[in-house]
Amino acid sequence: MNKKIRVLIAKPGLDGHDRGAKIVARALRNAGMEVIYTGLHQTAEMIVETAIQEDVDVIGLSLLSGAHMTLFTDVTKLLKEKNIEDIIVLGGGIIPEQDIPKLKKEGITGVFGPGTHTEEIIEFIHKNVKS
């Protein structure tokens, strides 16, 4: 058996800054993962539907607009509603320090701000995805 880790990298809401998301996508690919990239302006419903069809292990959300408290938690709420418990949700972008504990409480397992080394994200995924 040869399981590959599958990751969905998505940009929710109205935010056109996708450089960070693309860099993370490329780093994860280079770490041997299959990365599904969906482009900009995704709704929580689209993200969850894509995650289901692609059977991903991880959803990586990127947001630089400041709306992360609403848009990130919309995704985790929807996952909970659909009884999907085996997908890890990560967040990245401009996230103020004080929001991180609140996001973690809402099911965003890992939060990675500016300056994070991509190795750190890779290691986090390897540690948290059941093989």
Partner: protein, 313 residues
Amino acid sequence: MNEIAANVLKGEPRSIARLISYAENGDVKASKAMKEIHFSTGKAHVVGITGVMGGGKSTLICEITREFRKKGKKVGIIAIDPTSPFSGGALLGDRVRMMELTMDKGVFIRSMGTRGMLGGLTSAVYDVVEILDASGKDIILIETVGVGQAEVDVIKIADTTLVVLVPGLGDSIQAIKAGVMEIADIFIINKADKSGVDQTVAEVESLVDLECSNKERRTPVIKTIAKENNGITEVINRIEEHKKYLKISKEFDIKRKKRYEAELVEIIRKRLMNFIFDESKFKDGIELLIDQIYNKEIDPYSAADKILGKILK
């Protein structure tokens, strides 16, 4: 019946997605379900879309899907992108051009990496076609990786193969004609608003003249501008015309049998490869043999005889 198989037959998206993963990963849970669903397959029409990189294949698929949806058909899409031979990872980005299909319950999209397969497909693609077929999809669209000269495997699985070209390829049509140009059931010249379109159409038409002079059916050449939904109805009509032609000419039976042959060979190949390379007793033996070949103690042919001797007796 196996639970996941039963849910796939009901068209339940999470089970469809999970079974596809099992098949891709070579998980033992896949073969059990695959054995059961086969008897509910065979209804879906499989369309392969291949062609040059950047030819607009994903956009075309999005538009073709929308057109089939208007007719009430359920559509499954398999979008294949290359896996890096170095890292084993893949960046699967075809969904970017199909975003508007995401929330349509009558559409299921799966992105796949080639995972080491050459030829423009991925090893599990036969399984995925069976799964989507069993789940009640009427049309299955397969987007291959962008082709150069040898990525022609899609004809092993598709009932109808579309080859997508763009204007301005010029002499490169000559370069890719061996193989890729021969597999088309329908030619599409996309981005037909670009200059040089008439010349490209003329070149393709003249190739078709040579290819089809002694055939019953002449391969149509269609101009499209996918991003403006221009020419798409013609593509749909031609796919349906080809489907009818396959049935009347009995070519359908030949194609389907060829697909099952390719699938059978692929299952056997995978099992043999796993048997040889994954079972530890062989693995150690292989490493030892490689050392011996390197040290000129044995030649590669005799080494192969040794390994195969263990399996074939």
